[in-house]
Amino acid sequence: MTLSREFKVGLFIGCTAIIVVLALLYLAAGKGVFENLHAFTVSSKSGDGFTEGMPVVFSGFNIGKVQALELNEKGIVLIKIKIPDRHVKWIRSDSAFILYRPLIGSARIVVNTTNLNSPPLDEKKIPEVIIVNDINDAIARIEPALERVTQIADNVERLTSNLSDPKGDLHRILSNAGKITTNLASKKSLVEMVVSDEESVKALNDSLKKLKDITTNVDRILTKVDKMADKTDSEIYGKDGALPQVNVILKDIVGKLQKLDKTIDNINKISSDTSEGTKDLHILRSDIDDTLKTVEDAVKKLDAIIGLKKAPEFKVP
């Protein structure tokens, strides 16, 4: 079947037009053109950074835009934002509205809702917008750094001016160094340059030679002292030396002291027993005393009885 030219043209125009219209409708629906819009008003002390059409963002997604900006009678800027029906759930009573002005890119109002269960924001309520300004923050951060850079630049300038000054410290140091090297080149040694006298250098050399002889002698004496020390060591610490013998004697004394300890313990026991015995004697004495006192009391009573009766007769118990 051969399609006519008219049909082909009609099909092309019809299909393409339908595709284009559908694409535009899809975009329009996606952009919320056919949706109900909710109007909210937020306030700010300054209108700086706010523009009509500015996006309102929640978690990185565009959920609305700024519809209009107004200045009320108190001089406060009122920002009217429109949120489509499907995004109004993100706007709650505890939502914070933040104007975010990044260093790069366009400014936007960021909605930050911490509690999504809180009641929806009343459309008559006017929360205030918090302003976060990347540019000002960056400038505030850069300012101290710039001050330090300026200080460094000043110091560098001072250093360079000092370096370039013919009467400056560096030039003086360099000229002195030049003098020293010239002087060093004309002398035989560094010592001669320091003392600037050949006689003194000779005397110094002689002294150094004498010092060498002295150290040799000291070395010899030290060797002898070492040998003596070795001998003394063998006499004290050797097998038949004094120290092992002292050790034997001490061990013997320790054994004898241990025996003596036992004897002293026995003596202590005896003395404690004796002490216990003396305690019993005291008790016996007190018993005897009590008995005597009783007898005495009895005698006294008897005397009293005898004194009252004539020709008393009493039987001895």
Partner: protein, 261 residues
């Protein structure tokens, strides 16, 4: 010295006169587009043939070029965005650069090379063969019969083909965003919706219509300037094509200025 200034003055006057003539001519054709009388059965037949030759015949090749060139372009642009860490501007680049700028430009270049050159030559040959004079002798309105169908065809073809090209680029963008960024269709659609600006789309469609109008009008105008000699044909064709490309550049710059303002 005097002759230099005279030549310069003469050239400037000629240029301004030609520009004014073109504008007046464009005005005449534009008015005829909105006149009911223009749409006679003969004119409708010509219009149908013109749309067939300009859009329907070219459609398979055009779609192929759009898919190949567009996919390549989108792949390169996405890769560059990823390399430079500009993925945040992905949506704006896709809509603002590729869909509203490159797609109409690609379409207009293809149609200019294929159809505008053909129209220019056709008009010049008709002028050389005295066909225009014959039509006038038969009291057939040349503007209604020859010019308006071609201009309307230019507008319809560029608008529709450019829209198709944009849709093809957006579809191939889905594939490349998934391959390069690992982006799902939902995320891609959301980014695209956020970046879409209806005013930009309207400007792009209007620009396509302007392109369509001038890339057919200028070749017709230059074709009709041909004399009755065959040697004049290549001269007017080359002049016409140079002017068409100049017009494309001017329209592109003006559209960018409109966006900036």
């Amino acid at each position: 010295m005097m002759s230099f200034w005279e030549n310069l003055g003469r050239r400037v006057i000629q240029m301004l006169t030609a520009f004014a003539d073109t504008i007046v001519f464009a005005g005449k054709v534009f008015i005829r587009i909105f006149r009911r009388k223009t749409y006679s059965s003969a004119m409708r037949e010509v219009l149908l043939n013109q749309i067939y030759f300009t859009s329907v015949q070219i459609l398979p090749v055009f779609l192929m070029v759009s898919i190949l060139f567009g996919s390549l372009l989108i792949g390169i642009v996405f890769q560059l965005l990823k390399e430079f860490g500009l993925t945040g501007f992905f949506g704006h680049v896709l809509m603002g650069l590729i869909v509203t700028e490159l797609s109409p430009l690609l379409t207009v270049l293809l149609i200019t090379l294929r159809s505008a050159a053909a129209i220019n030559t056709e008009m010049a040959v008709m002028k050389v063969n005295r066909e225009i004079k014959t039509l006038e002798m038969f009291r057939i309105d040349v503007i209604d019969y020859l010019l308006v169908p071609r201009v309307i065809n230019g507008i319809i073809s560029i608008v529709l083909l450019s829209s198709l090209c944009s849709i093809v680029l957006l579809v191939s963008g889905t594939l490349f965003s998934w391959l390069i960024f690992g982006m799902s269709i939902d995320v891609y659609t959301n980014i695209l919706l956020n970046a879409t600006n209806f005013s930009d789309i309207l400007i792009a469609l209007f620009k396509c219509a302007i392109y369509g109008f001038f890339i057919t009008l200028i070749p017709i105008r230059f074709g009709l300037r041909a004399s009755h000699e065959l040697t004049s044909i290549p001269i007017v064709v080359s002049q016409g094509m140079v002017n068409v490309f100049a017009a494309i550049l001017i329209i592109e710059v003006l559209s960018l200025l409109t966006k900036l303002l």
